[in-house]
Amino acid sequence: MPAMNMIQALNSAMDVMLARDPDVLIFGEDVGYFGGVFRVTEGLQAKHGLTRCFDAPIAEGGIVAAAIGMGAYGLRPVIEIQFADYIYPAYDQLVSEAARLRYRSAGDFSAPITLRSPYGGGIFGGQTHSQSPEAIFTHVAGLKTVIPSNPYDAKGLLISAIEDDDPVIFFEPKRLYNGPFDGWHEKPVEPWAKSPLSDVPEGHYNVPLGKAAIARKGEDLTVLAYGTMVHVAIAAAEHAEVDAEVIDLRTLVPLDIETIAESVNRTGRCVVVHEATRTSGFGAELVALVQEHCFYRLEAPIERVTGWDTPYPHAFEWEYFPGPKRVGAAMRRVMGRT
């Protein structure tokens, strides 16, 4: 199997789906001839044709609305919003329209669209290229939200998202595009090729939506993480010398509550991590679910380690980013060690 970084794996997923299904098409800002600002759609227009992968006007609301219309016709559009930070003009189309078509028409219409968008920090992108807005989508009934943490999952999840009959928000941790990043930002960047998770089959395969993965087995406590924070949590466990079980949620909605509950009921302790701001973040939902499902087995309060309740500040990238030191400290507090 070829070693692929996350960009190549995502590209391969779309390549496979364009070849398999004539109803799949791709559009978004700069995704056509240029292949996207992160090169995720590189070569797809040349290979599959001008009308299968093309540029769109700078109108995020228009991109989503056009995709909904295409979905109503019966196509399976895969659209790119260039940065998650630019998604807000599309919010009305996503929340009021894509999310509710099936419900309000009693199944007469649906929006089988996949919205890909790079998200998250760690690249000195300032407040307009670093945000993690997943919680404003997980809050919306009718949308699914998927966030991969490695090339293998990225391809299998993206294929599942494209094949899914409901609208899927597919956030790609841009700091992971070229290599795993564990939050130790002064270390040299490692390429994906060194990781077994870069062994990506060339053809079609699925990683199912709604199924979490155990990224690190452990006995002391359970960390719930997704995206870049999966790697940070693993690094934090080593740093804090805690035998943490790290669960990579992979899909936030629908959420794999069985895997979470089984793990937390076994370890009795839980740390929830995300890059997004803390207040009303997805971590709040996870903490609520864990106490609903595991309260009688909990031996310590659940901790949240998140971005601060501020915009993402350019010069304070690493104070904002919840790195392994902060996550490790939370692990130790939950273990009763200080």
Partner: protein, 415 residues
């Protein structure tokens, strides 16, 4: 008649996706751009009804002719001192851009954006407006801020996110702010600030003020809903605002056809809203000045908004993260049929006997020196990562007053 198109033997539909005339490896093709001669466009009275001047949305207001003379009714008849000042600011902006681009390449900051080829669009407008008029810029109007006399060293402090950064290290480089200089804080999101310019102008009208607003948007971002909200509000409330569409032909890799620029001129978007519209040669300093002045006079006379398409060319990359040779012929910038704004104003001044090549060389050297001196001062404070405001400031200004969450988070970070 058969109701089914297939049974009527009508041809099948096909999806149109626009493509630019030239990609890398192709010969440059600007044959579709046929600039009318300088001086040809009529200049209506500012009291003219927008409906009676529709043709001005499809032509190009041009003042400088091939012989470098200022001709026609739009000639603003400016004195040589003002023109030399415009030339100086444009030359300084270019020197500043070149240096900051190099600093990014040397790792002294994370990001930079040049405005090469588009200097006149900002400088001539800034000089045509009053100092109190409010600018809502995009990220490519740094020359407007320089024209207002804002110190280069402050701009560099922002680029470096250092301890003296007026944005306190919070913003991506080039996202300047200066209320004092009538320069709105740049967000980096596209199109969002265009209707805000209209709102500022409405406030000025509401208060019986005399100041007007000027907004900028790129041609690519006219696709955003905010562009249309700006025109609707400007039209409904006859807001004293100048709405500039900087058509520099390229939105990263997307040519202006992806904003429907090959179907109709961007200035023509104003017609549907009943807004006065001009299409202007954006590389002609005198034309930009004259059009801005005309629109400003209309606005100040309570006659409402003007939409101006500044027809220009993005000669540099979109940003330091971009490589235009991947999507357009590398030599395209040198072939832009409307030339370079600095060259054209320089040649005009020389033709008037008010300037010389030798003086231009000296000016260029002076500008490089000015930039170098400012850089020395700013870099003494520090470049990105070497110096920055105190980390506790990252929790300030989220709200006017910090609530318990932010206080607790600041303590948790230990700053």
């Amino acid at each position: 008649m058969e109701r089914n198109a297939e049974m009527r033997n009508e041809p099948a539909l096909s999806l149109r996706v626009p493509t630019p005339r030239a990609r890398p490896g192709d010969p440059v093709d600007f044959s579709h751009i046929k600039p009318p001669p300088a001086g040809a466009a009529p200049r209506p009275d500012i009291r003219e009804e927008p409906g009676a001047m529709r043709d001005l949305a499809f032509t190009l207001v041009r003042v400088l002719n091939e012989e470098h003379e200022a001709v026609g009714p739009w000639d603003p008849r400016l004195g040589a001192d003002l023109l030399r000042r415009g030339l100086e600011i444009m030359t300084l902006t270019r020197a500043y851009d070149d240096r900051m681009m190099r600093m990014q390449r040397q790792g002294k900051t994370s990001f930079y954006m040049k405005c090469t080829g588009e200097e006149a669009v900002a400088v001539a407008a800034a000089l045509a407006l009053d100092p109190g008029d409010m600018c809502f810029p995009t990220y490519r109007q740094q020359a407007f801020l320089i024209a207002r006399g804002y110190p280069l060293v402050q701009m560099m402090n922002q680029i470096y996110s250092n301890a003296a950064d007026p944005c306190k290290g919070r913003q991506l480089p080039v996202m300047y702010t200066s209320k004092k200089d009538g320069f709105f804080t740049i967000s980096g999101n596209l199109g969002t600030q265009f209707p805000q310019a209209v709102g500022w102008a409405m406030a000025s009208a509401y208060k019986g003020d005399r100041r007007i607003a000027v907004g900028y948007i790129g041609e690519g971002s006219t696709a955003e809903g905010d562009f249309h909200a700006a025109l609707t509000f400007a039209s409904v409330y006859r807001a004293p605002v100048i709405l500039n569409v900087v058509n520099n032909q390229w939105a990263i890799s997307s040519f202006q056809g992806f904003a429907a620029g090959d179907s109709a001129a961007f200035a023509a978007r104003g017609i549907g809203y009943g807004v006065a519209a001009l299409r202007v040669d954006g590389n002609d300093f005198l034309a930009v000045y004259a059009a801005t002045r005309w629109a400003a006079e209309r606005a100040r006379a309570n006659l409402g908004p003007t939409l101006i398409e500044m027809f220009t060319y993005r000669a540099a990359a979109h940003s330091t993260s971009d490589d235009p040779s991947r999507y357009r012929p590398a030599e395209e910038p040198q072939h832009w049929p409307l030339g370079d704004p600095i060259e054209r104003l320089k040649n005009h001044l020389i033709a008037r006997g008010e300037w010389s090549e030798a003086k231009q060389k000296t000016l260029e050297k002076d500008c490089v020196e000015q930039v170098r001196a400012a850089a020395k001062e700013s870099e003494a404070i520090g470049t990105l990562g070497q110096s920055r405001p105190s980390a506790k400031t990252m929790f300030e200004d989220v709200y006017k007053e910090q609530d318990w969450r932010l206080r607790r988070q600041r303590q948790e970070l230990g700053v």
